[in-house]
């Protein structure tokens, strides 16, 4: 059982790390600011979500698990809002550098 859970953790966290990697690559490779914003707002939220998912079997109590999920939810909210904020600021400036 614990081996299966460890395996689950490893797979989920590795996948999370992969999405962080993809987000960074996108941030570096994508040609203009707005597409880079996509890379940022979509990949890293998913990455953090998967890391949290992978850590869930390892927590000591249900409470810690709920706290992890709360952290992810807050980041998701912040990420969604700030992506729109930055997006509009870029649009307003005609900022496709």
């Amino acid at each position: 059982m614990s081996v299966a859970l460890d395996l689950f953790s490893i797979v989920a966290i590795a996948a999370g790390a992969f999405f962080f990697f993809a987000g960074s690559v996108g941030l570096l490779r994508f040609p203009d600011s707005l597409t880079r914003l996509h890379a940022l707002s979509k990949a890293d939220n998913l990455g953090l979500g998967l890391v949290v998912l992978g850590l869930l079997p390892r927590v000591a109590s249900l409470l810690d698990a709920l706290k992890l999920v709360a952290i992810w939810a807050l980041v998701l909210l912040s990420g969604a809002a700030s992506a729109q904020l930055i997006g509009r600021a870029l649009r307003r400036r005609g900022g496709d550098e």
Binding site: L74, S78, A80, A81, S82
Partner: protein
């Protein structure tokens, strides 16, 4: 070398790289963003130093609130910064500055390497005081019970900083309100953030205040989080920075140090020395003082960011 050591070295190099960027960036704004990133990384370093209390303070104040202060002022100064980029210091000045800095860093590094291990420590005494207060978090106990003088004076420094910032105002505006933090017509995403994040932030702030008695956290960190929430509300233009002659504001600004002094004097009267907490009542008294400190910090930080009054008293 274990994985953890490699991680530590990598983190250290990253912190240094971002710090170099903060110093060397050509534009002000790039440097400011570098500093925000730097504060975030630094709180990771503090976790590695077994100092979650400090990590939380660094994340909230060092990176969060300072970041907002610098981003805001950096944008205001942007034009001026570009114009002045030409005025570079001479090579000789830079070389001598580099030599001096190198010397200072090397001397400090030498001291650090020469530190005895285990070093001199006050931890056993802190342990004694911790037992007397009934708290579980040694850092909070040190802040409020044992080294309470330092903390009280630090609160007074905050009040003095507010006086200093306000006194920069032009005479015309004295008694008025600072300029609004946000712009007119905030967009939907900002309103969403303000409507959902702020109540949750209040919960997190109270939680961090409350666990601060026994676990990492406390009035400083919680106050900074509540301050950040108030600032988001002001940036969304749902509330405006209060005028500097508002009685409620002034009460909030001095409540922390005032309650602190009263508690200290009460200790003097009842138990014989300043800040003596009577046996058995230490924990409730400490939490009482901390509650007012929380209020003062939550009020002071946004007031410092909002700056001096910019609008006349009667519009």
């Amino acid at each position: 070398m274990s994985v953890l050591q490699i991680l530590d070295v990598g983190l250290a190099l990253l912190v240094l790289a971002v710090a170099v960027w903060t110093i060397a960036a050509r534009e002000i704004f790039g440097a400011v963003v570098g500093y925000v990133a730097y504060g975030l990384l630094l709180s990771l370093v503090w976790i590695r130093l077994f100092a979650p209390d400090v990590a939380l303070t660094e994340a909230a104040i060092g990176s969060g609130v300072t970041g907002v202060l610098l981003v805001t002022s950096g944008a205001r100064l942007k034009g001026a910064g570009k114009a002045s980029a030409a005025a570079k210091p001479s090579l000789s000045l830079r070389l001598s500055a580099a030599a001096l800095s190198l010397l200072a860093a090397a001397a400090l590094a030498g001291v650090i390497l020469a530190l005895p291990d285990p070093g001199p420590t006050l931890a056993p005494e802190a342990r004694q005081h911790l037992a007397a207060t009934g708290l579980g978090n040694p850092v909070t106990a040190v802040l409020i019970a044992w080294r309470s003088f330092d903390t009280m004076l630090e609160k007074i420094v905050l009040a003095l900083a507010v006086v200093g910032v306000w006194s920069v105002a032009s005479d015309l505006y004295w008694g008025g309100a600072p300029a609004p933090l946000g712009r007119a017509n905030p967009q939907g995403a900002l309103l969403l953030l303000e409507q959902t994040l702020v109540p949750l932030g209040i919960l997190v702030g109270v939680h961090i205040f409350w666990v601060g008695a026994d676990a990492p956290g406390g009035a400083f960190q919680a106050g900074a989080i509540l301050a950040a929430m108030w600032m988001i509300v002001m940036i969304a233009r749902v509330s405006e920075p209060p005028p500097v002659n508002s009685r409620w504001l002034r009460l909030a600004l001095v409540a922390g140090p005032a309650v602190f002094i009263v508690a200290g004097l009460a200790g003097l009267g009842m138990a014989g020395y300043f800040f003596a907490y009577p046996d058995g009542f230490a924990k409730p008294i400490i939490l009482f003082i901390e509650a007012f400190m929380l209020l003062t910090i939550a009020a002071t930080l946004p007031v410092l960011v909002a700056g001096p009054p910019r609008r006349s008293f009667r519009p």
